[in-house]
Amino acid sequence: MIKQVRKSLVWYVFIAPTFILFGLFVVYPTLETFRLSLFREVATQQELVGFAHYVRLLTNQVFINALLNTAFLGLAFLLLVIPISLVLASLLNNLRVAPNLFKVIYFLPQVTSTVAVALVFSYVFQPNWGLVNGALRFIGVNPLPLWLAEPRYVLTGSRSAVTILAIWVALGYYMLIFMAGLQSIPVDFYDAAVVDGASPLQTWWYITIPSLRPSFVFLFITGIIDAMSRFSDLWTLGGPAGTPARSLQTIVMFIYQTAFEGNDYNLASAASVILFLIVLGVTLINFRNLLKQEFANL
């Protein structure tokens, strides 16, 4: 018995540092966020107010705007980046000359910091002399679009500019994941298609795309979670308020602004809990598959 305990003791020692750090830096702050969201600060004392902050949030125009903005920017990004990266990955997968060179180039923006990339793009989209409008002027476009200075929902407004930025940054990563998926499709599938006399385009549409289902699911779910917690690039471009006219404000920027500029930590915590519930909902879809694989052999 004692021996048994001593034998397992070493394993507890191995996992202890990780779980102590988790308790302190993950579990405690998460629970504390939930607690804060139900309280209110009255003269340095915390007073229970129940769900009052959640009610305040759901009637708060700024919060609703941030929530819808986050969803809109996330969906616009995903619906564009997935087809573009799929086509480019399929092309790259068939290229026999210098495929690695292209991988390296397309992945480049992903290793540079989001802040740096966003700073460069604030100049790229400068309306008078930026790289984009300069090129448009060169080919005779008039009037030139305003990009980051245009808060309305138009094709050349601030939301489009940051969506182009996000696609430019993420393209290489999405291509890599699709290429890994493409390389795992069994060759037999393609042989069968050739025997049936399918054209390359038919093969791509009827065999390649359905076989990439796992990659689509993975990219869509992780993409939504990333989009929900978007902060650095939009904060660099528009500050915590998502200037112009809050057109670039996301939930995390709302949380940051409410907590660290408005000092309303309780309201910000309630917004965090709502963000958590959204992410949880998306993750659970993914998690069920993970658990199924994981606990089949545990």
Binding site: V10, T112, T283, L291
Partner: protein
């Protein structure tokens, strides 16, 4: 067998052979056209990917860019000079920022790798009561994005007197659910016999871990190291909350602050940005094989 004996056959087979050759040649031609087409599309995309970087570097050498930019963008300025870089290095303690970022990233990555591997080893090869419970608890933490706990974490740092110290940038990121999970999956594939043989020889679990398990984890540790390093190096939200002392700024935070204050001087701002980006790009070009393999292996981008 010679075909010459059969009269009609030679012409027939020769015709067929030349038809086949023509078919193969046209296919080769088609394929060449196809390859050129694919290359062209990808090359246009690649140019679009790097042109902002080239424009950035070009403009950073232009002194006049601080007053007026050319209406038609130039990739190389008419007045190349190092002026913007002189201003950048006198205004920004960029070496200091690099030192801070390097210290924080290295310590976090080493700690994260060690703890992930150690805990992953316990979950992969250990037998102890409550293992499933602890592993489930670990998986649950995977679902908690950082942004959700950042407010209490900020207060915790204040309470622990860690605000405005580099430790605040390291401690909360030493243990990670993803790293532990990945290491556990990988270590599970190491044969039990290898570990058991060492146990029979009387090696302690920690010795087995250091001498046998860790050396076998090379590829996955490399992938995890790259991802952790990228993730920590590029983070701005957390440093923004806990670091207000300019001497403790990381490269990313320093760049963001400089972007705020000197953004109107395009030349200087782009020189700052180049100083923050170019060393990382050079490092990336050396390590690209490991980085790209790491991303493909784990499906994460840091």
């Amino acid at each position: 067998m010679s075909l010459d004996h059969i009269q009609p056959a030679p012409t027939e087979s020769a015709k067929r052979a030349s038809a086949l050759q023509r078919f193969l040649a046209s296919r080769r031609n088609n394929e060449r056209v196809e390859q050129v087409g694919i290359f062209a599309v990808l090359a246009i995309g690649a140019i679009l990917m790097i042109i902002p970087f080239i424009w950035m570097v070009g403009t950073s050498f232009s002194r006049s860019a601080n007053m007026a930019m050319p209406r038609i963008p130039r990739l190389w300025p008419a007045d190349p000079s190092l002026f913007n870089y002189q201003v950048a290095v006198t205004n920004l303690p960029i070496i200091r920022y690099y030192f801070n970022s390097f210290l924080v990233t290295t310590l976090t990555t080493v700690g994260y790798l060690f703890l992930s591997a150690l805990t992953g080893y316990a979950f992969a090869k250990g037998r102890f009561p409550g293992k499933t419970f602890f592993f489930l608890a670990l998986l649950t933490t995977l679902m908690i994005p950082f942004e959700i706990r950042m407010i209490p974490l900020y207060f915790l740092m204040r309470t622990l007197h860690l605000k405005d110290t580099l430790a605040a940038l390291i401690l909360p990121f030493l243990a990670g659910g993803f790293g532990t999970f990945l290491m556990r999956q990988y270590i599970s594939t190491i044969p039990d016999d290898l570990v058991d043989a060492a146990r029979v020889d009387g090696a302690s679990e920690f010795v087995i871990f250091c001498r046998i398990v860790l050396p076998l984890c090379g590829p996955v540790l490399a992938a995890l190291a790259v991802l952790t390093a990228l993730w920590r190096w590029n983070d701005v939200l957390w440093p923004l909350l806990v670091i207000s002392d300019r001497n403790l700024y990381t490269v990313t935070l320093g760049l963001a602050a400089a972007g705020r204050s000197q953004g109107i001087f395009t030349g200087v701002a782009l020189a700052n940005t180049s100083l923050a980006i170019l060393p990382i790009i050079v490092l990336y070009l050396f390590l690209q094989r490991y980085i790209i393999r790491g991303i493909t292996l784990t499906g994460l981008k840091g």
